[in-house]
Symmetry: none
Subunit: 230 residues, 2 copies
DNA sequence: AATCGGTGTGACGATCGTGTGACACTTTTC
DNA sequence: GAAAAGTGTCACACGATCGTCACACCGATT
């Protein structure tokens, strides 16, 4: 979880408008964003995506924000993930309770986006001293997220949008095996229904694009499961 | 109306009510505002946001305002940023001490908003045209923000206001890909609703304007995402 | 009133990207 | 070995996206 190159922020918020605002701003700041709209989804995403930071709404249907916070902090594997609580309440008691359950910071709605980003960076800096690199590197492949560019051995490559997102996901955690379902989530989107075979085609296209100037195939097929880089 | 070249003011204040007041007034005056509520955040924001001016509260938890002032003025890279100190104390000794540490001006609380804004503008006028080089350069394109003019290969170009802001945004970070939403924010303004397709038209006009005297197209279309320079 | 520069919008054609099915091929299972 | 399951690759048709044009609108200027 630490060798990840691009910071991933999990936003847990039940109100869709709020979610979109956060997503937009976070992406504009160069973060990768995962969304969850209730407690169950949140816990699932935490174990699946291993985000670098969680922005957590206090009020949630079913499992409350506090409960999620407690569980994340109770699990040794996720304990170190910083949590920023969002709350409409400004009562001091709530703030204390929020921090008591293990939240690392506490922001009151309506919040200033600038302020939230600053606190977010502060938390990330605590756990991720490495530069928030928009640049992913695997062997001789360099992917610049901000510039939407990919080089191999110094030579620029031409990728379509989907191929770019696919490579971007694979490079995020080199060596990690991604199932087809996970790739569908990441590259295509949660609610899009597409045949999983489509992935194979795009992996093929990505491979071809990566090897136009020669070089070996960096994509590994894991039979029965999915794909990984290296 | 949030133009690209808006001056950015960093407000360092630990009391949230005061922060909001300043933020509100500064934004109403057309400034971009960054907030920090303690010394550490402040120093972080200074290096990250490179504000054009700092409004600094005297009393801060942990690192005091004076200390921040001293550090900003000690760093050659940030030395030229004007600092306006806010303080509840009116003692002459404090004023002297404040100015001694390098603050450019000193305002006593409770202050008049009008007065503060006036002093702020004075400071900005003093440093802006000189220091902050409002001259953006990309390859053979030169954009002079102060003169509101654009040259390519030494020849002056005729751009409309929107095209100018668009180019100005693109030149701010050459190579970076701007999504249409981001461009709408920077060039048109957060609350204005215009069709995203409108951007395409203006990009087209900008391209034509940039190529009237020949030369290649410096604007890169990133399909599915947006545009970038180079 | 008339003109003019600047702007937003709809329409249209052209291009690019994408999903799917079919088929060959490889690997596993029986 | 044969069957089954998983994967690589190809061509094609559909849809999304983009560049461009013409036109209407609006405010400023004369």
């Amino acid at each position: 979880m630490s060798p990840a190159q691009q910071p991933c922020v999990l936003v847990v918020e039940d109100e869709s408008a709020q979610r979109e605002v956060l997503k937009y701003n976070l992406e504009a700041e160069g973060f990768r964003v995962a969304l969850a709209e209730n407690g169950d989804e949140a816990l699932l995403m935490v174990s699946e995506e291993k985000p670098d930071l969680i922005v957590l709404d206090w009020m949630l249907p079913n499992v409350s924000g506090i409960e999620i916070c407690r569980r994340v902090k109770a699990n040794p594997e996720t304990r170190s993930i910083p949590i920023i609580m969002l709350s409409a309440r400004s009562e001091e008691t709530d703030r204390v309770r929020g921090l008591e359950t293990g939240a690392d910071d506490y922001v009151v709605k309506p919040y200033s986006v600038v302020e939230l980003m600053a606190r977010l960076r502060t938390q990330l800096r605590r756990t991720r001293p490495a530069t928030m690199g928009e640049r992913l590197i695997f062997e001789d492949i360099v992917l610049d997220a901000a510039e939407h560019r990919v080089f191999r051995d110094g030579q620029p490559l031409k990728l379509g949008p989907t191929e770019f997102r696919l490579l971007s996901t694979l490079m995020e955690k080199p060596g990690r095996v991604w199932t087809r379902d996970q790739l569908l989530d990441r590259v295509w989107g949660r609610d899009i229904y597409v045949d999983t075979r489509t992935i194979d085609v795009h992996v093929g296209r990505l491979r071809k694009a990566l090897m136009v100037h020669g070089g070996s195939d960096p994509v590994r097929t894991v039979r029965g499961t999915g794909y990984s880089l290296g």
